[in-house]
């Protein structure tokens, strides 16, 4: 029993990060129909930026803030320099552009920072807490509550603020949104900035647990993409459920079956899901018109 609780704790921690990644995918996909394979690089930059901010003598909150702001700015630049100019290009081209951006950011990070593995101490110390025979790092609580906070804040933003509603409208129908006077290009830029900031925030929170290096981005992006697909691409609630589900399933697989094949879970799940439920768990059904 204590084993199961232990696996659930670690699953929920990783799952919270996957959920934030999936949320980033979802926001960009809704605004622009682009699947951004550079999403994992934002998480890496959040962690690496904080590491080097601390090394430069900044206090932790300031270093984290600087890393998040910098990454958000990079997200905006990515949209302006690489995504907007290729508007209307086929899916294959857009996939190559965002993968190219991921490789570029990874290369730039290895030059700008270094190729070492880094971490910094947890925000509330490193002493593990004990619950029912399982241990939990205080930093895991930071990750889970941070993710919960982001989801609540975004829910408020999307349902209460005018800009949030404009983003929802754009995701439903870009042309119609433009017709009622919504600046859809601004919405797209905003969505890239927001996604990048959310990714960097996840990186700031999780680095004390998982550590970070210049090349962790692609793997994270694939897991986050899997989580987003699982929940149904384009649905924030799906991103949350898909992320947590994937995290827990990976932890259970690692615990009870084989730790080598825990990364396979996401892809077996995706392939099965695509065969039997192509819209994901929470995706909307689209009728295809010719």
């Amino acid at each position: 029993m204590s084993d199961l609780l232990q696996f659930l704790f670690s699953g929920l921690t990783v799952g919270a990060v996957y959920a934030l990644l999936a949320l980033g995918f979802t926001i960009i996909f809704n605004a622009s129909d682009v699947v951004n394979f550079a999403q994992g690089e934002f998480v890496m930059l959040g962690g690496m930026g904080t590491v080097f901010g601390i090394a430069a003598g900044l206090p932790v909150p300031l270093a984290a803030l600087a890393a998040i702001m910098g990454t958000a700015f990079l997200g905006v630049a990515l949209n302006k320099l690489a995504i907007e100019p290729a508007r209307g290009a086929p899916v294959v081209s857009v996939i190559i552009i965002t993968i190219g951006a991921a490789i570029f950011i990874q290369g730039a990070a290895s030059v700008l920072f270094d190729k070492q593995i880094h971490r910094y101490p947890g925000f509330s110390g490193e002493r593990a807490l004990h619950f029912g025979g399982a241990t939990l790092l205080p930093q895991s609580l930071w990750v889970m509550s941070g993710a919960a906070m982001i989801f609540v804040a975004l829910w408020v933003f999307f349902t209460r603020s005018l800009t949030g509603k404009a983003m929802l409208a754009t995701s439903n129908n870009r042309l119609a949104a433009a017709l009622v006077g919504i600046n859809t290009r601004y919405i797209m830029t905003l969505s890239f900035g927001l996604s990048a900031a959310i990714g960097a925030f996840a990186g700031v929170l999780v680095t004390p647990i998982t550590m970070t290096a210049y090349n962790v981005g692609i793997g994270l992006a694939l897991s986050g993409f899997a989580a987003a697909m699982l929940g149904g691409l384009g649905n924030p609630v799906g991103a949350l459920v898909g992320g947590l589900l994937l995290g827990i399933l990976e932890a259970l697989t690692a615990g009870y079956i084989s730790s080598q094949y825990k990364d396979a879970v996401a892809f077996i799940l995706i392939i099965l899901l695509l065969f039997f439920m192509p819209q994901g768990l929470f995706g909307s059904k689209h009728a295809e018109r010719v």
Partner: protein
């Protein structure tokens, strides 16, 4: 007599392969050339899948891996010669592609991309984890093809680099010839029709799932052969050949050079294979340059390098 475009393409390819060694400053370039041709074989298969049929795959390195590991494992465990191991790998790849192809190819766009990506990652994961068979992440040695010894017995002395240059070049020409023939065949026309529109092709009486499956299986065989040759040339294979980055490299080569044309895609393979060899001086900037090339070409030359350059060249010549 007026030559058909496909014959011109083949002739250009043949002349380039035969003439290039005249400009090689050292034997090392034979190896680079062979590497280019081996990548170009897989890329030619992707031209059929992506360029003709319009179906993306982000997991074709999985088939490269199957071909490569067949040549490493079959001669040792089954006692067959490496030549038959190439055929075995191709058969395995074709079989797997045939089994998973039908459900996967119902998907479109990103969903197809992620399903093929998952397939490729699962294959590379098995290769990396089943260490008692595959040697794990460190890789495994591959038996000798035996061709060099055979040639020596006949009195020909060639270096390993030269042998692989000519062998891979010959296989590439054969592969390009098949792909170009396919373009104008009924199957090729059907593929290009369903590229334009699934529904329109179906109303014309084309069996869309079957043709998509054919393209998928054919491209898997190309990838598998490319993997086999790579393994036999390097005499060593690691799970990286089946990894996500190799899949991305292959798709990028295909799209970079010009996805619709065999010659263009081979051009793309040449650039992306030669680039890291040229950039060894700037080794630490390699990833930045690669990423930048991918982004810039997609934005400014969406048709790919070769078609865009040709168009510009023709435009100027016409004035």
């Amino acid at each position: 007599m007026r030559l058909k475009p496909k014959h011109i393409s083949l002739l250009v390819l043949f002349v380039l392969i035969v003439m290039a060694p005249l400009f090689f400053p050292s034997g090392f370039y034979y190896r680079v050339g062979a590497l280019i041709f081996i990548n170009a074989i897989a890329v030619t298969g992707l031209v059929i899948l992506i360029g003709y049929a319009g179906q993306i795959s982000l997991g074709h390195a999985g088939f490269v891996g199957i071909g490569a590991y067949s040549c490493a494992l079959a001669p040792v465990h089954l006692g067959i010669s490496p030549v038959f191991a190439i055929a075995l790998g191709a058969a395995l790849s074709a079989g797997l592609a045939w089994i998973v192809g039908r459900p996967i190819l119902k998907l479109h766009g990103y969903y197809l991309g992620v399903a093929t990506l998952g397939l490729g990652i699962l294959i590379s994961m098995v290769l990396a984890n089943e260490a008692q068979w595959t040697g794990g992440p460190d890789g495994i040695a591959v038996p000798d093809l035996g061709l060099r010894g055979l040639l020596r017995d006949w009195g020909f002395r060639v270096s390993a680099g030269e042998l692989w240059y000519w062998l891979a070049g010959a296989v590439l020409i054969a592969g390009a010839w098949l792909a170009l023939n396919l373009f104008d065949s009924p199957t090729g026309r059907a593929l290009r029709a369903l590229h334009g529109s699934d529904v329109a092709a179906r109303t014309m009486g084309i069996d869309v799932p079957r043709h998509k499956l054919h393209a998928f299986v054919i491209s898997a065989v190309y990838a598998s052969v490319s993997g086999s040759l790579l393994a036999l040339m390097n005499r060593l294979v690691t799970p990286d050949v089946a990894g996500f980055m190799h899949s991305v490299h292959l798709v990028t080569m295909t799209v970079l050079g010009g996805v619709g044309s065999v010659l263009g895609a081979i051009f793309g393979a040449t650039i992306l294979t030669a680039l890291p060899q040229v950039l060894t001086v700037f080794h630490q900037y390699e990833h930045m340059v690669l990423g930048l090339v991918m982004i810039l070409v997609m934005i400014f030359m969406p048709d790919g390098l070769l078609p865009s350059l040709l168009k510009r060249f023709r435009g100027r010549a016409g004035k």
